[in-house]
Symmetry: C2
Subunit: 135 residues, 2 copies
């Protein structure tokens, strides 16, 4: 388990705190949308998780990771919903883009904290979207 | 838009009404779980949706479809969450299993009602899971 001081997390993301409310609104808006993706093929990362009790900096980090993901090359969009179970699907144009995002330095910190603090269980599935349709 | 009598929907699923509470409990339990899937490759159907206002028989049909899906050959599991946006991911062992489920007679009725009544917008993405990991 993570044994450090939670307050140090705030330092890492200090620059973001000044725009906290804006960020929250952006994400709430984004989370109510079906992602607009190009014609297949493209890739979907299906992230399913069960949270531990309490926030412990989770919401802030989730916002930050979403902001950061949208800036990455090859990012196509994302969708997210949570009841007890949380599902976040992010869409990417290549396996290389997914691999680069997984290795991003800030994302590595988030993954470590996710593993140690925020998630009691999770599964990541990397899949290739072969066909899509809808209204 | 669907112009029929909503009460006729109940007739279609009359057999299910007698076990309504059992079904609800089963599904609430199932929805809080990360699906246990075999080693890749397998397939994921990512269904993302925005609902219209009101229930109009939706919850009952969703329960019924889940029950029915779990009985289909090639069904491996499912995960579901909804805030404003809903995401349901079902897992299958082949494209043929997905195609058979799409053509199932009761499911065809549900798809038609979904299109006409329950969803203001939806997207179905059929993808091949190539890799997975988790805790």
């Amino acid at each position: 388990m993570f044994s450090g001081d939670f307050s140090t997390l705030k330092g890492i993301f200090e620059a973001d705190l000044s725009k906290e409310h804006t960020t929250v609104y952006q994400i709430e808006g984004a989370m109510a949308k079906i992602a607009t993706t190009p014609n297949p093929p493209y890739y979907a990362v299906i992230f399913t998780s069960l949270r531990t009790e309490g926030d412990h900096g989770y919401a802030e980090m989730a916002d930050r990771m979403l902001d950061l993901a949208t800036e990455q090359q090859g990012f196509l969009g994302f969708e997210s919903a949570r009841n007890e179970l949380g599902i976040t699907v992010s869409y990417w144009d290549s396996l290389e883009a997914i691999s680069n995002w997984k290795k991003h330095s800030e994302h590595l910190i988030a993954q470590k904290l996710g593993h140690e603090i925020w998630y009691s269980k999770f599964k990541v599935r990397i899949s290739k979207v072969e066909r899509d349709y809808g209204i």
